[in-house]
Amino acid sequence: MVVLDFFFEIVSWVLIVSGSFFMVVGALGMWRFPDFWARLHAASVTDSAGVILLIAGMCVQAGFTLITVKLIIIGIFLFITGPTATHAVANAALTSGLRPTEAAGLTGATPAPPKTKDAT
C-alpha cells in the first residue's frame, strides 16, 4: 500500500509539473509572439494542455472522492468552452478584417492593406 501511495505521488507530481510547464510556455508565447494569430496559437496551449494536465494531476491527488467528480466536471466544461471561445474570438477577428501579416497570401482570404492592420 505504501508502494501504491508512492506511485500515485510520483504520477501526480509528473502531471502537475508538466501542466505548469505547458501553462508557462503558453503564457510566454502570448507575451512574445508578434501577431494576433500567433498569440491565438499560444493561448490554445494553455487552454488545452495546461488545463488537462493540471486537472488530471489534482484528480490523482484527490483519490476517489467528490472532489474528483467536481474536478472532472470542471475539466469537461473547460474542454468544451475553451475551443468554443477561441473559435469565437478568431471568427470575430477574421470578420472584422484582421489578417495575418506575414502569410497574407496563404490563408485563402484577401490580404488586408498594410495600413488597416490594427482594426481598432
Partner: protein
C-alpha cells in the same frame, strides 16, 4: 508540488496581464481576458489543494461559467453593438 503549480500559475497570469494591457488590437485583449479567466479557475483549484481544503472547486466552476458567458457577450457586443436582441428591421416600415 502545489507550490510549484501556484508559482507557475502566478507567473502565467502576470505574462497574460502584460499582453492584456499592451495588446495592439482589442481581440488580443479579449483573448488575454479569456486565458486569464482559465488561469483563475486553475488558481482557485490549486490554492484549495495547497490549503488542504479543496472546497473552493464550486467557486472555480462558477467562475468558469461566468468567464465563458462574459467572453461570448463581449464578442457579441463588438459585432452587433448590442448585448440583447439585435435590432431587426420591420418590413412594413420600409414600404414608404
Amino acid at each position: 508540488m502545489f507550490v510549484v503549480a501556484t508559482i507557475a500559475v502566478f507567473v502565467s497570469m502576470i505574462l497574460v496581464l502584460v499582453r492584456l494591457f499592451s495588446g495592439p488590437t482589442m481581440y488580443d485583449r479579449v483573448l488575454a481576458v479569456n486565458t486569464f479567466g482559465t488561469l483563475t479557475v486553475l488558481l482557485i483549484g490549486v490554492l484549495g489543494f495547497l490549503n488542504e481544503r479543496p472546497d473552493f472547486l464550486d467557486i472555480a466552476f462558477l467562475y468558469a461559467l461566468i468567464n465563458f458567458v462574459g467572453t461570448i457577450a463581449i464578442l457579441k457586443f463588438f459585432r452587433y453593438r448590442a448585448i440583447g436582441d439585435t435590432p431587426r428591421r420591420d418590413p412594413d416600415a420600409e414600404v414608404e
